[in-house]
Subunit: 482 residues, 2 copies
């Protein structure tokens, strides 16, 4: 472990993060909402802490190695989550406890979008802006980590995306690849956000709402500046724009990069993960809309808009709402909720277990059955034309098992805090999948639940965002042994 | 596929099964409950059908091959389940519909022990005896299939238990091994039942109750001749006897065989699966009893007896009851319910995913983490001193994933039939784990739920009992292709 190097990286991260507290100050001054002192105070504390970590080690030059990668990835969300909570703590409106402030901040940064705040429409603009921006920052962090770091670490089968670069850089040195990849991805992310914001603006949102919702859409975050979420705007055009950008943001950003660079749109369809993702969206939309019409819950036009919007929002794990889908008939709320366990593609801002893993689990299930019938056949699992190694196969099964078991344990703990069955089940699901809204007591917000439950859910959000293993590995004595 | 051979085996099975309808006739005549015509009629139909399948092919001499093994294993429970329902259909008391009769029969044969009948204490003795005997017959079927057939088929990693016998018999010819193994196992099963019955009798049960409960205990079935189950006897001695035999019956019968043959009790402790099983029972008992004392639900003595009995009964998936554990505080009902997902050891009469699979999933989870930290290390998974092959590892992950996904889908279907969340969740869990009692509406019995739900649950019981893959494989076109 390169402790000094980790301190230096952490220092840089905190100083960079402190700079992101300046735009809310500007927003506050522009709207005259008098909340800027909270941001300035948070800025000074964060910047000073960053400087404190960075200064003694500013001239350290070492390459990051695998083990450091785990620590930095985990620190990215935990430390930034804590410092990101400062403005909520210092601000008078909303008046949040320490637990609530950390919950809101982590929920933003992990792009979960579960909120403890009600009465959004009455909040200072700077706080509203800050929440949206937190998601946007979390979003780019996720993409860079998912595309540049996790493949190197080999978390949950993500070595699948490891580029076979020859030479000494291949194995454990991460630095060169990170910088180069991060730039390309950031550019795409920025472009997508700008286009999304312009579309929203053109469709009738105020510029403030347009930027804020573009942040939360592209980050698959789901925070809104209104309690009624996207439903506030009551516009099919805005719903359509939102759906398009949620679906786009749920696609692997490395795929966006190559498709746009090569100007070949059909690459989206040739990519097995993306194709499966689009097919699942189409199929589940048909089920949802069909069942809404069949049960006469809505007229067919409403059924189409409400059904497809909610489905896309839940499946991609965005968590925007236009209606209360939790009161839809029979199995529909759970059906939608299940789709969030799949979530977006690997390397996107989406949560859940990721499309490629679900696809691999499916293919492996089929292979297990084939093996029973033909015990001596050698059957390879393929993604497109590429055979997937057994090592990846095992890692994906492992991911699935540990994901389900973590879910089951946290569900039990939430029950132990006294929450009811549906609330516990869905709160853990909504947080581990980085979805946001749940069912039951947490359908609208998380303000009414117990403090212990909130901390468990914070852990769930981190677990989901850190692809389970990145976090769990830090709790093993083995990791810390030299 | 050897259709003729399968017909012959099916014919023999049905004729043998028809003979098991004679003891209830004797019971009926002894107790003068006037129910014997139902059994006689069922006997004639079953025997005639068996003869009809057997007669044309009685001189067929072929070796069973892998593919036939799947069909016969699946037919064992489905066909016997259907014919086993005949006495319930023909009997006037209880007056069951076709759905209920099949549900009760399948629930007995798969040793699930979920019942649709209330008022057991008023039923004819012959029917009560028949229910218990169904479980006992199912129990021996499970053991023989699990020890002799599943390892050959390689279902869910069970090739782990394949004895490395050299020569041409090794691969796909099942017949010689089945006969020889079945005899040894049956003897142990019989011995265990006789000893259990004698203990119950000595402890104060009537001979009728002692035999009936010994059947259901050794089969890990959980049917009782009283609505109050084991609680009816209100005796700590009977509870203690029951616990001992539930724990014994949850152990691999092949292990019983070798330990008793070699007169070496410590083999139980040297067996990694058995040791893990005993440790988990000890640990979960401490949690259960401790929490009951901590919450002052019972005095410490009651807490010990009720807590440990219910825990052992649920964990081994027996489903006997002495109290209503579903009203215990907070997370305890779900905690107990979770343990049933582990269930008994492979090759026992227990349900659930089986101890060895949980142990392997755990070891593989640890290995995945080690691999993250030491990406280039070659790490073998060991059970005792034996390294477990990657093929088995993958099959176990596969089993786990398909088990969880099947659970999730059937849960959704039960919600769609209009059942509430807890009932749907626990009914599917109780049936796929072959546990029996659930929570919510199905805590005591399954009489009040809808017909469609009952058929889904029948499927769940079969799925659990057939180790998921044995049943699923039959639904693939691949299996039926020549
Ligand atoms: K979200
Ligand atoms: K049972």
């Amino acid at each position: 472990m390169h402790i000094k190097l980790i301190f230096r990286v952490l220092g840089v991260l905190l100083m960079l993060f402190s700079l992101t507290l300046m735009p809310p100050v500007a927003v506050s001054l522009w709207f005259k909402d008098y909340s800027y002192p909270a941001f300035l105070l948070a800025f000074f504390i964060t910047f000073a802490t960053g400087l404190f970590f960075w200064l003694p080690f500013y001239n350290i030059r070492q390459d990051l190695r695998t083990r450091d990668g785990f620590v930095i990835t985990a620190l990215f969300w935990t430390v930034l989550g804590l410092f990101g909570a400062l403005p909520f703590l210092f601000s008078e409106s909303p008046n949040l406890s320490f637990t609530d402030a950390v919950f809101e901040s982590l929920s933003g940064l992990t792009t979960t979008g579960a909120t403890v705040i009600t009465g959004l429409d009455q909040l200072p603009e700077s706080i509203l802006y800050y929440r949206q921006q937190l998601q946007w920052l979390g979003g780019i962090g996720i993409i860079v980590i998912a595309v540049a770091i996790l493949p190197m670490l080999g978390v949950g089968g993500m070595q699948l995306y490891r580029t076979e670069a020859p030479g000494p850089n291949k194995d454990s040195k991460l630095t060169p690849r990170i910088t180069e990849t991060a730039k390309a991805l950031f550019l795409i992310y920025l472009m997508l956000t700008v286009v999304c914001a312009l579309c929203y603006w053109a469709a009738g949102m105020t510029l403030f709402d347009a930027i804020g919702h573009a942040y939360a859409t592209v980050a698959i975050g789901g925070f809104s500046t209104h309690d009624a979420s996207i439903g506030y705007f009551d516009s099919s055009l805005i719903m359509a724009i939102c759906m398009v950008f949620m679906i786009l943001s749920g696609i692997n950003f490395a795929l966006h990069f190559t498709s746009w660079r090569d100007r070949k749109l059909r690459q989206y369809w040739y990519d097995p993960e993306c194709r499966f993702y689009l097919k699942v969206i189409a199929a589940t939309t048909v089920v949802t809309v069909g069942y809404l019409i069949y049960t006469k819950t809505y007229q067919w036009q409403d059924a189409f808009w409400q059904g497809s919007f909610e489905l896309v929002s839940i499946l991609t794990t965005t968590g925007f709402g236009v209606t209360d889908f939790t009161i839809w008939p029979a199995f529909l709320p759970f059906f939608l909720f299940y789709t969030a366990f799949m979530g977006g593609c690997a390397g996107s801002t989406g949560g859940g277990m990721k499309v490629v893993r679900v696809l691999l689990v499916w293919k492996q299930g089929v292979r297990e059955i084939s093996r029973l019938i033909h015990p001596n056949a050698v059957i390879a699992i393929k993604l497109g034309n590429r055979a997937v190694s057994d090592r990846v196969v095992e890692a994906v099964w492992g991911f699935f098992a540990v994901y389900v078991i973590s879910f089951a344990i946290m569900f039990l703990i939430l029950l132990a805090t006294g929450l009811d069955f549906i609330t516990s089940f869905s709160a853990v699901g909504a947080c581990i999948n980085n979805l946001g809204p749940g069912l039951g007591l947490v359908a609208a917000h998380y303000g009414d639940i117990d403090g212990v439950a909130k901390w468990v859910l914070c852990f769930a959000m981190l677990l989901g965002r850190l692809e389970v293993f990145t976090l769990l590995v830090l709790f093993t004595p083995m990791f810390w042994r030299r």
